[in-house]
């Protein structure tokens, strides 16, 4: 059996004396779409910050494709094939849509810190960037400054920037938060399309999105995974209903 795409072993995180993550174990198979749900303050975003290297773990181990990524810088983890989006839109606001995506493409195309290549002459970069811009449906907006896009467009761009580097493990933090029904439906289609053949882990509050997209779901409450399973199993789980679904039915 292939190594899990991502595996967490007894991961803990405390800020001072406040424990936020209390021993999380997770194993996510390659190609799986995995949703992490849980009430506000359960530690979902913190968990993402630990996995993506924004924070270091207090104890425990995180493996990406069977290799430990403990203590690595975010850029190193990104180069190993893990990319993330942010709950609050985090793009290059003063750059165009095209430039935003291009920044995310450059490293994976091997140009790194080059100051001897003229950027407009890089065919591979141009092709790949154009392809991503098309795929997120922003071809008509490609020269627009990211800061002036609508909220839904910015969210789509955020996803574009996240997938552009070709990472095979994608973390999306509340990709549909703040969207209208129709915008959410479009976002779900987009996520489905762009994560085809990759491993997706997402934090999401909208239960229709979760049950629509996810192959498996983990429920995080007070920094612990209280249940993990298929959507059916999670729906039928008593503890989950009590802790979460019962009180926050969408």
């Amino acid at each position: 059996m292939a190594a899990p795409a991502l595996e967490l072993h007894d991961v803990r995180k405390s800020f001072g004396r406040t424990a936020i993550i209390n021993g999380v174990n997770l194993s996510i198979r390659p190609g799986e779409r995995h949703a992490i749900i849980g009430p506000n303050g359960a530690g979902k975003s913190t968990l993402f910050n630990l996995i993506s290297g924004r924070f270091g773990v207090t104890s425990g181990r995180i493996d990406l494709h069977g290799e430990s990524i403990n203590g690595l810088e975010p850029e190193i983890i990104n180069r190993m094939g893990l990319a993330r989006s942010f709950q609050i839109t985090n793009i290059f606001a003063r750059m165009s849509v095209y430039e935003n995506v291009r920044c995310a493409v450059l490293w994976s195309q091997g140009y790194k810190y080059s100051f001897w290549h003229r950027i407009d002459a890089l065919e591979g970069v141009r092709e790949r960037t154009g392809e991503i811009v098309d795929r997120i449906g922003m071809a008509k907006r490609r020269d627009r400054m990211a800061g002036v896009l609508t909220y839904a467009e910015q969210r789509a761009l955020e996803i574009g920037v996240t997938i552009a580097g070709g990472a095979n493990v994608i973390l999306l933090d509340e990709p549909t938060a703040g969207m209208s029904r129709s915008e959410t439906d479009e976002a779900v289609e987009l996520i489905r399309k762009v994560t085809e053949g990759r491993t997706l882990i997402m934090v999401e509050h909208d239960m229709s999105v979760v049950f629509n997209l996810a192959d498996r779901i983990s429920v995080l409450v007070y920094g612990e995974v209280i249940a993990s399973g298929t959507p059916q199993e999670i729906r039928g789980n008593k503890a989950v209903q009590e802790a979460y679904l019962g009180t926050e039915q969408h």
Partner: protein, 420 residues
Amino acid sequence: MTPVLSARRIVFWGAVALAFAAMPLIFSQSFALSMLSQMGIAIIFALSYNMLLGQTGLLSFGHAVYFGLGAFFCAHALNLIGAGKFWFPVTLVPLIGGVAGLVFGLLFGFVTTRRAGTPFAMISLGIAEMVASSALMFTAFFGGEGGIATNRAVGKAFLGISYGAQIQVYYLIAGWCLVCMMAMFALTWTPLGRMANAVRDNPERAKFVGYNTTRVRWLMMSLASFFAGIGGGLAAINYEIVTAETLGLVASGNVVLMAFIGGIGHFWGPIIGAVLVTLLQSALSNYTQAWLLYFGLFFLVIIMFSPGGIANLIALHKPAWNARLLRRLAPSYAIAAVAGAIMLFGFFALIEMIYHYEAKEMSSKAFSYFGLTLDPMQARYWIATAIVLVTGMTLIYGVRSVVGRAWENLTVELQRKGVV
């Protein structure tokens, strides 16, 4: 593959080269020639500084360190060449300054670029202080108070070029200035150049697309120091003396002013700033001893009324220019210019009156001012000055709405045309 230089670029840079070549023919006086040389050096220095401030978002208060170290290394190189201990064409000596700048940029930058924002600014200030004080301690290398004197005409004359004459030095500077401008402009359109902008705008996102932000800052700083060093090398050749002032805090502050006055948001901004500041510093000081005061006020006015500098002011007019509607603004601008001239006339008169009133001369404190004779010991001159100043200020106040209305009408027109 798209060609490295498009036809448009070749025409553009060709035009710049021609302008550089033609300058000494238009301004042939010796003082103009030395000012032009100074401008060329300042342009390289200011552009290299903007690689940090404008492009990477690093506010440095110690950029003259790299300029100055480049200058010292070049002065020593020239002296070694002169003593016959070392052979190197004088034309390429600025490159030695560039390498010195690069090495020290790599060295100091390794420490400073671990932080951005205010900590970076403070550490850069600390390093500037450290190097400036070392300059007075290590007299063998820095020459102490007297600095290091050198002679640029040490090489064998090649096709009659020995760099003895200022005109030859001007062309040397102009040539290096053109090459550096092209290189620094090209750099903005490379992966590193683009990622520098990304790190400036959103360092966190830059990390999550695979970039080490410290590395990006470090590389940009090292390259900026390289170009600053070339500028310093040219300064050593131009002045034939390098003192501790060359790498001091005043010089570091000066380049900040150039960049801000010109505008840090545009590649061309610092060029405007460098030209203007050099002009003001050498021309203004010929006319009045209060020039530093005017210079400070000028900086203040720019920062308050056009924080994006002069380049931004120009860029603001671009849509109107493209739509061929710029002349709509001309009448209101002409009125504003007259009002401004009256106000400045009164303001300068007031400053000069105060200055001469305070002056030491006992016999007469009268002085000439634009062909008039003003005497600060007589009340009527003070009254007249006050009237002119107040009139000018009132006019300016009134003219603001005229300019504002012209802009409003223009904006409506541009929107109607769908330009903005």
